[in-house]
């Protein structure tokens, strides 16, 4: 669907276009929220809050090329606000990240599905164990695929620092995946021929 047209109609107050926009981006917004906060309930509430912010400030968004970075920026700010609030008023319990397993789409056959889910679970657990800084650069670069310049502007750090930080974060993630897989007795990672 043409994003420019969708945005234009949303800005004009077209409710149907807004619904289409929500449906198109809800998985991504929810994904960002989940990767930041680490549990489904909070991520769902947070994703709603993010969409309400987007709805109210849609006029501030530029053209369609700016929309996704803008959406990610709004989502990130909302997640950081949420984490600050949670730090100030910690919740009693935190739902485990294993919940993500229920959110994933089924694979082509049960064995492959199990392997894929199991592997993704290991990767996600390793991701959650990263330092918050490394987790954020992995999320912005490797998961969301933002350009390095955008990440540098978002995190307010030099471009060179972003590059080296991403490399370090990737290596740390790979090492954690290897350690977790070894502990779980899983097969060696992707021995592809």
């Amino acid at each position: 669907m043409d994003l420019a047209m969708l945005l234009e109609r949303c800005k004009a107050g077209d409710e149907l276009a807004w619904e289409a926009l929500v449906r198109q981006f809800q998985a991504r917004v929810f994904g960002i929220a989940f990767h930041y906060v680490g549990n489904v309930e909070d991520a769902r509430d947070l994703a709603q809050e993010i969409f309400i912010r987007i709805y109210r400030h849609l006029d501030l968004c530029g053209d369609e090329q700016m929309f996704v970075p803008w959406l990610i920026r709004i989502s990130r700010n909302a997640c950081i606000d949420h984490l600050r609030r949670r730090k100030a008023r910690p919740v009693l319990s935190d739902i485990a990240v294993e919940e993500m397993i229920h959110l994933q789409a089924p694979g082509p056959n049960p064995e492959e599905h199990w392997m894929a889910d199991s592997r993704k679970r290991v990767i996600h657990l390793a991701f959650r164990k990263l330092t918050s800084l490394n987790r954020e650069v992995i999320l912005l670069r490797e998961i969301l695929g933002l350009p390095l310049e955008e990440i540098a502007s978002m995190l307010e750090i030099p471009l060179g620092t972003v590059k080296s930080r991403i490399n370090r974060a990737r290596i740390e993630l790979a090492e954690r995946v290897r350690a977790l897989a070894a502990n779980a007795g899983e097969p060696a990672p992707l021995e592809r021929s």
Binding site: A47, L103, A105, R119, I123, I171, A174, L190
Partner: protein, 295 residues
């Protein structure tokens, strides 16, 4: 003359460098044809044969590196992401590939990095479930976009204030300050508070009522004057347009004069009322003995 193995060994470096005179080379070749040991030596020297089994070769290399430059795994980790992404210059990539072929740990990391590059982008989108869209639409569609209601804005502001980590401290601080000012003041505590306070309240109310009455009177006079003038003008327009135009011009000039007068009058009156209110408050303040508090 029969060449011995020791003679061949002496000439080996010249053979490899192709610097042996033709006569000597012929003699060496004749010896090679007869001696399997020297043939093997030449193959090894040319790098065409490796006498070490694979495991021992790895071990030997590791031992040599340990005693010289040390293992290069740390250096590899700096370049491994670029290697996996194919962004490393060709020569660097070839050198790094040699390390990876011979280092199980680095090879494992490289494989995981490749896997992550394939898996991570797929984690960007997670389905929040069917009710989510309905909930978002319910929370947004019936609102006036970009203009949150004042009540919602206040509620958001209040929630944000309440969620601040130091809110309790700040509230306690402000409350303590107020209590110290009102209750902790010895001058205030020593007097009968009700009568002078009532006096202040009464005088302030009186000043406010006067100011409101004056402003209301001024406003209604201006409104009725304007309405009357407009009525007269419309009557003239219907009977005599030329005279109406002249009247309108006169009225415009008069209006400018009135406006200038009203503005100066207003400013003068407002200044006067403000001064009166301030003096009343000051008198009441002095009568309560509060002027000593800040002196």
């Amino acid at each position: 003359m029969k060449t011995k193995c020791s003679d061949f060994e002496d000439r080996l470096s010249d053979i490899l460098a192709e610097a042996l005179p033709p006569a000597d080379l012929r003699v060496a070749m004749e010896h090679l044809a007869e001696c399997p040991r020297c043939r093997q030596l030449l193959e090894v020297a040319r790098g065409e044969m490796d006498l070490l089994p694979s495991g021992s070769r790895q071990e030997l290399a590791r031992e040599i590196l340990r005693k010289t430059s040390g293992l290069a795994c740390g250096r590899v980790r700096e370049q491994l992401c670029d290697f996996v992404d194919g962004r490393l210059p060709h020569d660097d990539a070839r050198i790094l590939a040699i390390h990876i072929e011979n280092c199980r740990a680095c090879a494992g990391l490289a494989r995981i990095l490749e896997e992550l590059s394939a898996v991570l982008p797929g984690m960007a989108e997670l389905d929040p479930g069917a009710p989510f869209t309905r909930e978002v639409l319910a929370a947004t569609s019936r609102r006036e976009r970009c203009k949150p209601q004042r009540r919602e804005f206040l509620a958001e502001w209040w929630n944000a204030v309440m969620r601040r980590p130091r809110f309790a401290w700040e509230a306690a601080y402000v409350g303590t300050l107020l209590l110290a000012l009102v209750i902790g003041n010895p001058a205030l505590m020593s007097m009968a508070a009700s009568t002078p306070l009532d006096e202040v309240r009464g005088k302030t109310r009186q000043a406010w009522t006067t100011a409101t009455r004056e402003l209301t009177g001024l406003s209604s006079a201006a409104t009725s004057g304007a309405a009357e003038a407009a009525g007269r003008l419309s009557q003239k327009v219907s009977t005599n347009p030329v005279q109406a135009r002249e009247s309108a011009a006169r009225l415009w000039q008069k209006g400018q004069g009135w406006a200038a007068h009203m503005v100066s009058l207003d400013f003068a009156r407002i200044r006067d009322w403000s001064a009166r209110v301030l003096w009343m408050v000051r008198d009441s303040w002095i009568s309560l003995g509060l002027d000593r508090t800040f002196s």
